[in-house]
Amino acid sequence: MTKITFIQPDGESQTVEAENGLTVMEAAKLNDIPGIEAECGGACACATCHVYVDEGWRDKVGKASDMEEDMLDFAFDVREGSRLSCQIKISDALDGLVVRVPAKQF
């Protein structure tokens, strides 16, 4: 199991354990993390599972694909480290990953 921490805009954080192979969005939904909506169910088609990957983790998580970048156009307040959590696959390498939930999803 891999540990992932979600930090809310108000600073509250929640650490969950997730199975490798799931996506960060799925881990969030399974654990009822507030602020991750995932309207399209993980098809990279809506941008409502937007998260900010914490600075120290950006290299390990990697960059968004072109399709994901296009979809990020539909997210609110996109910053460096913005990713769609449905496109981040959980693996051992991401054990301890920290992501921040934005103040608003569209």
Binding site: E39, C40, A43, A45, C46, A47, E69, D70, L72, D73, F74, F76, D77, V78, K104, Q105, F106
Partner: protein, 354 residues
């Protein structure tokens, strides 16, 4: 899309309402398959959809994405599934009304239903099938404080008349085809036009992007890389927007803003038709998939019942049972004989294979 247009008829310009057996609201996979199931029982249907083409979520959200759980199709894309359904329902010649939304629905004295679209098309139908999926696709509202107050007055998600934008200081936000098309169309009539996008890359068609870049060089359009963070104005009239860019926040004076952030699904007018809802979904029974209003059915993602699964295959099953119940309303005096398409010559005749 092969042969797709063959069965698509333009919206009729008729003096009176269109009289039909069934109106299907939604041209997604369930709405399309409902045409088939109703058609086998001689029930003619008109199909209304807010999108400009069939397919619903399959067309709008994931045309290229593979679907793996449609029986007998190990893998099919949303687009292919739509095309195949269109082919399957062709013998029943449904009439489509695209880019229209049913806004009102009420029962007439004779028990039939009168429906009206936002474009003024009117129907009188014996049964109504709501197959509206996640609701109607509506433009996404940017989560900016107070934006509701400006909508329709100085914030617009679509433009009906280019002339209405003449002489305005326009801000367009987005990087897709809508944003670029409107930039190109409105720049000639605007007093000023600023296109704001979060990055210097655009999803829109390359030739539109090229044209826009030329307009930027000629200084008829200003391109800003950044994101709108706040609106300024009073009584619905926008006066400026704050734009966060790499070098800080800049305030841009403007009298109209057009945000293009794609579409989202909203239940919409369906909520006002007196149907029992549960968490924004229409409550139905599992024998007929009928709502609390006799003659109004709901199938697919939009309905709710114990054990409901939002799967395309569930919607297909729901369409088949719905059609049996609809038959009793459309043909109250006819006894319905259950038949298989494999052996029934009458069904095969309807399908045009015999």
């Amino acid at each position: 899309m092969t042969e797709m247009n063959a069965v698509v008829a333009a919206a009729q310009e008729t003096a009176g309402p269109i009289e039909t057996d069934a109106v299907i609201i939604g041209a997604g996979p369930c709405g399309l398959f409902a045409v088939f199931e109703l058609g086998l029982l001689d029930i003619k249907a008109h199909v209304v959809d807010i999108l400009d083409r069939p397919g619903g979520q399959c067309a709008e959200l994931y045309p290229e994405k593979p679907i793996y759980d449609v029986p007998a199709l190990p893998v099919v894309t949303g687009q292919e599934l739509t095309e195949r359904l269109m082919e399957q329902i062709k013998p029943f010649a449904p009439i489509f009304h695209f880019s229209e939304r049913i806004d009102s629905l009420r029962r007439e004295g004779d028990g039939r239903f009168r429906l009206m679209t936002d474009a003024g098309t009117e129907f009188i139908a014996k049964v109504v099938i709501v197959a509206a999926g996640g609701g109607s696709f509506t433009p996404k509202r940017p989560p900016l404080n107070g934006i509701e107050d400006y909508e329709g007055k100085s914030v617009f998600y679509s433009v009906r008349k280019i002339e209405s934008m003449r002489g305005k200081d326009i801000v367009i936000v987005g990087g897709g085809d809508s944003a670029l098309d409107w930039t190109l169309n409105l720049a000639p009539v605007a007093k000023s036009l600023t296109l704001i996008h979060r990055r210097d890359e655009f999803r829109a068609a390359p030739h539109s992007v090229e044209k826009m870049r030329r307009m930027v060089e000629e200084a008829t359009v200003r391109l800003m890389i950044g994101q709108v963070t706040a609106l300024e104005g009073a009584n619905g009239q926008l006066t400026a927007v704050d734009v966060k860019t790499a070098s800080g926040t800049e305030r841009i004076a403007c009298s109209a803003m057009l945000p293009f952030f794609g579409l989202t699904m909203k239940l919409g007018p369906v909520a006002d038709w007196g149907l029992n809802l549960h968490e924004n979904l229409i409550v139905v029974d599992t024998e007929r998939f009928e709502t609390n209003e006799h003659g109004i059915f709901a199938i697919g993602d939009i309905n709710s019942y114990p054990g409901k699964l939002k799967l395309i295959l569930s919607g297909f099953h729901e369409a088949a049972l719905m059609a049996q119940a609809a038959h009793k309303i459309v043909y109250p005096d006819k006894k319905l004989l259950f038949q298989y398409t494999t052996s029934s010559s009458s069904l095969q005749k309807k399908l045009g294979v015999k």
